[in-house]
């Protein structure tokens, strides 16, 4: 069975450094899930998450030996710290209320050992929203999108269909436009929509979203 390791490598910030680090990972058959680089002047923190079959000691030793690497620290993974993500986007008034419901409900589950975070962006306009919906597929750990507005359709609806194909659950407020018809679930009350979004992905909840598909509350 493979184990997930999260590591920060402090290294010189120059082209080729990331390639050198990932080459060492490949040499050890580490499967890279996530890499991020934070620059701070001439040094950079390279944060990565890999899965490995065996113990990580030889890999860590080779990384430390690499030219340009100044330090290495094993840390808790983002999945462990921030957990599954619910993304809420749309009009500020509605996004705020959905967030309120989702945060209160996530609190109840996180106390029992879950880790669910609620991430939001207030946005206006068909194209910016369609781009933001499509980008949810690329967000690490994003599991549910809640669309919180009064009118959404056109390019946003196309983006919703694409996102659903990639396995993200889409909940829509009851609103004008074609988005509600494309969503997995339509909820009229924004607080309730936030609560249901959390219940849909909490292992501590007994709410089966697949039984709710196409329903309206």
């Amino acid at each position: 069975m493979s184990t997930l390791y999260a590591v920060v490598v402090t290294a010189s910030d120059r082209p080729g450094m990331m390639s050198a680090v990932t080459k060492v990972l490949a040499d050890h058959n580490a499967n890279i899930r996530y890499v991020d680089l934070h620059s701070a002047g001439e040094h950079a923190d390279i944060y990565f998450e890999v899965t490995l079959e065996g113990p990580p000691d030889a890999l860590f030793a080779d990384l430390k030996r690499l030219n340009g690497v100044h330090g290495l620290e094993e840390i808790p993974s983002f999945a462990k710290i921030y957990g599954k993500r619910i993304i809420v986007m749309g009009g500020g008034a509605q996004v705020g209320q959905v967030a309120l419901g989702a945060i209160a409900e996530a609190d109840r589950h996180n106390i029992r050992g879950e880790r669910i975070s609620v991430d939001t962006i207030p946005l206006v306009g068909e194209e910016p929203l369609a781009d933001a919906v499509r980008a949810v597929a690329r967000l690490p750990r994003a599991r549910v999108l809640v669309l919180a507005g009064a009118l959404m359709g056109g390019a946003i609806t196309d983006a919703v269909a694409e996102l659903k194909r990639r396995g993200v659950i889409v909940i829509s407020l009851n609103m004008a436009g074609s988005v509600p018809d494309a969503a997995d679930l339509v909820v009229t009350d924004p607080l309730q929509a936030g609560v249901m979004a959390v219940m849909a992905i909490a292992d501590t909840a007994t709410f089966d979203i697949s039984r709710q598909r196409q329903r309206r509350y």
Copy 2:
């Protein structure tokens, strides 16, 4: 001047693939800022952001030619879509109210061309919170942390000091414990704390956080 490019490469999901892709990036002197891999069965989407000095055509062509690569698409970067991030963590009751203030204020700035998102997690306990505070330094595009609780100190305060050294602004609610003394700014009302967090990083606002350090409202 270097330009930022965001690209999705669809490739076979196997060890070594990421190393092969990053080697091509290094050969073209592309400076990698962010790489993320989303698995979907035998294929994976490798999403990356790089800065390049010249035009990207030769790099894109070499990536497409790579053994195991099935497709390549240029897309808008996360910075363009979700922008700067405010992170709110602590007790569910307070996190919800801070989020409400921050989302309403972010809406006002995003309408004028800003991109600010508000990301939250309700959490309980000194160690989980300290870990989550420390991890904010590794979150892409995180600019402000708001600590929203009734009692925070000890390991959380140490983590706050570390985070401030890494350039993240820390706002604390007025609460028991040593965290308020360690924060850049203390705000009693949670809605106001959310609004001020947005003002502190919005280019469309005229609020200079450096003039507010150590103040209490």
